[in-house]
């Protein structure tokens, strides 16, 4: 291979026609086998001298694939692997193919600056539009959250208003109790049906009555299946004290007891044949310690009853009814359905449904795990990793639950055609296209209920 600074005459004339100085061009000439025959011109300027012949041969053979070796093709503004920025003009030189490389580095910066300014302006417009969309979306989310909170508060106020309206003027004491009760969350595990309470009261009556000779009638008013949130032990104790004081005072008379569920109140009425004496009423209303009053057993029982009434924030009234007296004890309570999730899960018919949990620590939530066990669904804990996507596409579970911090995996699953249900679980709320790939976002207390509602619908 020969090396010289001077370009072949033909190439020099060509450059003259283009009005390009020969100092700005180098030439490489190859034979038919792409073996470099000659390099000349501004090779140093174009950093070609560092490239050996074989490398140049391979490079230009590769570059020129698909292009004619004879028709004089041109490829402008090529940045070669060595960093040279050139226009490549090909021409035949006898039985060789020559490539004239015209240095364009000096124009590159100017063209780049113009092009870049135009493109960056477009990108900035796009970025501004995205920020506007995000702001509108955030505003929409806030508005939705406020509306949801307003609906919840309205529902709660409606419930409170309804409950409070049921209270008569003498029962206004129950209003604050109801307000406190309204703060109870569903899931407080002290629920009793009215029927269960009645049975407990019957047992208490049987225990206390024993061999006593009074006639005691016990009536219940209310639907046995109606459930209430309450402290069952305290209710039993209250009933026991109320009954005991009546049995004690009325050694021979008849006693009528009714237990009525008149939501929002549970009312215990005890009618007997003796009025409450003044000192007895003091014991009851004031919860006076028996040591302060007479040493009678009935006073002690009334005092204990009075203390229990205070503790439970219940109220007692007494009135004459003909020749009899009637003590009414009222206790505020709320009706609520017990947490239906467990029962719903058992009845849900999720057997045969496959649920995958891809969480950071699938075993960290024993309540969720227990609920899933109860559901009968076939659930599996999996590691959060990229391979999850391929595995889920292959095995096609009915539902994949993904840690919300890795919800991007859900996007991958959906974009690759996964057709099952996708749920994100955890504190982070997915947004944008990731949220769009999901069927829902839940926290662990909602997940099973959601599965019950949605897995049953899928074929």
């Amino acid at each position: 291979m020969s090396t010289s600074d001077a370009l072949p005459a033909r190439l020099s004339r060509y450059l003259d026609q283009l009005q390009i100085s020969p100092t700005k061009a180098a030439a490489l000439c190859f034979n038919a086998e792409w073996v470099l025959q000659r390099r000349c011109g501004a090779c140093a300027q174009l950093q070609l001298e560092a490239l050996d012949d074989a490398l140049l041969g391979d490079l230009f053979r590769a570059i020129w694939t698909g292009y004619s070796r004879t028709r004089g093709e041109q490829l402008p503004m090529m940045t070669l692997p060595n960093g040279a920025v050139v226009d490549v003009h090909q021409m035949a030189l006898g039985d060789q193919v020559a490539f004239l490389l015209i240095d364009r580095r000096s124009e590159l910066a100017e063209r780049q600056a113009l092009q870049q300014a135009e493109q960056e302006a477009h990108l900035e417009v796009h970025a501004q539009r995205r920020r506007q969309r995000e702001t509108r979306a955030e505003l929409s989310r806030v508005q939705s959250a406020l509306q949801a909170a307003e609906r919840r508060n309205t529902a709660l106020l409606t419930w409170l208003e309804w409950s409070t309206r049921l209270l008569g003027p003498e029962q206004s004491w129950a209003a604050p109790v109801l307000r406190r009760a309204a703060g109870l969350e569903v899931g407080v595990p002290r629920f009793r049906s009215f029927g269960e309470l009645c049975e407990e009261f019957r047992l208490e009556l049987a225990r206390q009555r024993g061999s006593r000779r009074q006639n005691v009638r016990l009536l219940f008013e209310g639907h046995p299946a109606q459930t209430v949130a309450c402290d069952p032990a305290s209710l039993r104790h209250l009933f026991a004290l109320a009954l005991a004081q009546s049995l004690e005072r009325n050694a021979h008379g008849d006693i009528d007891i009714s237990v009525a569920l008149n939501l929002p109140l549970l009312q215990l009425r005890i009618g007997d044949e003796l009025p409450l004496l003044a000192r007895e009423r003091l014991c009851l209303w004031d919860g006076l310690s028996p040591e302060r009053g007479d040493d009678g057993r009935s006073e002690r029982l009334l005092a204990l009853l009075g203390m229990e009434l205070k503790r439970l924030q219940a109220r007692a009234t007494w009135r004459s009814v003909g020749s009899r007296g009637e003590l009414t004890i009222s206790l505020a309570c709320i009706d609520t359905d017990p947490n239906q999730i467990t029962q719903s899960l058992k009845n849900a018919g999720l057997r045969g449904r496959t649920v995958w949990l891809a969480l950071t620590d699938p075993k960290a939530d024993p309540v969720l795990n227990a609920q899933l066990d109860a559901s009968g669904a076939q659930w599996t804990a999996l590691a959060l990793q990229a391979a999850l996507v391929d595995t889920a596409l292959r095995d096609a579970p009915d539902c994949v639950v993904i840690d919300s911090r890795h919800a991007k995996l859900a996007f991958e699953l959906r974009s690759r055609g996964y057709r099952g249900l996708l749920v994100s679980l955890g504190p982070l709320l997915p947004t944008g296209v990731v949220a769009g790939a999901l069927d829902s976002h839940c926290d662990s207390s909602e997940l099973c209920a959601w599965l019950v509602r949605n897995l049953q619908r899928t074929p």
């Binding site: 053979r61 590769a62 995205r130 296209v433």
Partner: protein, 164 residues
């Protein structure tokens, strides 16, 4: 061309990350700084395929949403085509599909892939999972990130394996 040297071209709208993808694949580097490509950049990379060693000659074309005569000329002789879109700009996916159609005039038999770049910016994506699933009916699609490297090697390797 020698037995195992193949030309592939990267086309796509401006700013989608073509140069960054090449830089990631060839040199394992990434720069946050955006520098527009003028004309075409040539790079090479050796890799292994099922058919043996392969030298890829990678043509990174300046970004535009249409192929003019010069750019169409750049495509000649390519065995493979990577059409690149930016997941944070939905319009670039439409550009990519248009570019693919235009490129068929010059290289009808080239193997092609669609790369949807900037998967690290998923929170800003405009391209939905459903849209990608639909695209996958007709094309091989990779979600990738030149910044993190996710999906880049796999995309180039897949294209290399498919070229005869």
């Amino acid at each position: 061309m020698s037995e195992r040297t193949r030309k592939i071209c990267l086309i796509g709208d401006f700013g989608v990350g073509k140069t960054s993808l090449v830089s990631r694949f060839v040199s394992q580097v990434f720069s946050e700084k955006y520098l527009t490509t003028v004309g075409v950049k040539i790079d090479t990379k050796q890799l292994q395929t099922a058919a043996g060693d392969l030298k890829l000659v990678i043509w990174d074309l300046a970004g535009k949403n249409a192929l003019d005569a010069v750019r169409l000329n750049y495509l000649k002789g390519a065995s493979g085509l990577m059409i690149v879109a930016d997941g944070t700009r939905e319009s670039t996916v439409r550009s990519a599909l248009s570019l693919l159609q235009q490129s068929r005039q010059v290289i009808p038999d080239a193997q092609s892939l669609l790369l949807v770049n900037k998967f690290d910016l998923i929170a800003e994506w405009e391209v939905s999972a459903a849209a990608l699933a639909e695209l996958r009916r007709a094309l091989t699609v990779f979600q990738c990130s030149a910044k993190t490297g996710e999906g880049v090697e796999a995309a180039f390797q897949t294209l290399a394996d498919r070229m005869p």
